[in-house]
Symmetry: C2
Subunit: 192 residues, 2 copies
Amino acid sequence: MPDSAAAPTSQRILDLAERLVQTRGFNGFSYADIAASLGVTKASLHYHFPAKAELGRRLIGRYEENFVAALAAIERKVKRPLEKLRRYAAIYAGVLAQDRMCLCGMLAAEYATLPKAMQKELQHFFDENERWLARVLEEGRRARELDFSGAPREVARLLISSLEGAMMLARSHGDATRFRAVAERLMGDLAA
Amino acid sequence: MPDSAAAPTSQRILDLAERLVQTRGFNGFSYADIAASLGVTKASLHYHFPAKAELGRRLIGRYEENFVAALAAIERKVKRPLEKLRRYAAIYAGVLAQDRMCLCGMLAAEYATLPKAMQKELQHFFDENERWLARVLEEGRRARELDFSGAPREVARLLISSLEGAMMLARSHGDATRFRAVAERLMGDLAA
DNA sequence: GTCTATAGGTGGATAGAC
DNA sequence: GTCTATCCACCTATAGAC
């Protein structure tokens, strides 16, 4: 999903806003920033997204759609549970490689300041991630390819927490290798 | 360190600003917020902290001092490495119990928007944490009380990432038990 | 769909009286 | 050390012409 210059304005707005949230946070950019970058006026942005809260809500929705599609692609291409987990971590690594934080991880930090509608969408994103991971974990344990104690849902939460946290710290240290090291250690700990 | 109403103004400012950063982020509060809560004017705040960047720098410095003191207290009270790690995680749990995020974890998310001076102080905080954890891990492995592969410094980074991430997600789900579950799992994975 | 113009508010910050 | 008063830049958002 590159920000093609020929794309409809509403999509160019979303693409740019997405990057801004991922790098600076929802409270770290303004309509003026987007307008200047796209060469349009603020008023024009308000035509497409009347309120910033609405823009934020749509950003989460689109991000989640793309994420779900990526998870489905993993399911199609890969059979082994451990490899599915590696690909899951690779999604995060790909985002970090663009010097971005996970959109929803960033928003989780700003949670208390977000409009209610955005808070709700955020929860949904993480729930979806948890459910997918828990299913893969369960499947892997059954197949004796993965080994862990306790509920799959709890391991799923550990994975999400650790990957999001590692992404955040790798970004602030300007050192993506930190993320990879954490991700590989997590996967290694799960291999049977 | 409760925000005693009788404390000097500069300390009351720091106490309140700290809580605001931990709950709303550095870009999520203003001098006006503090002024209103303390019953003073914005001009008075600027007397104590001429610029917000300076206030932010001092916040990190004080937070780090307190953190270092807490780590020293652990060393005094506890001998077993695994128990030291548990107490380390308990510091995080204590912060979360006040419905706050780790000050520096919050700032790490906002990293790209922070003044350079704050960015530097932030790195120092995490480096200090890493060094302390790495030493405890090394000590524990030598004593055969802890078991892990690879460099202690890398495990230290995993612990910090995971605890910060778990804190962030627990807060946005309004569910502190999520944090405890992650913390206990991390400790369990390290026990020999 | 995009523009000009502007409203109404808040941001951080300063001057100068007390 | 705290106040009043004020500056100016920026914020989100709207009205109305093209």
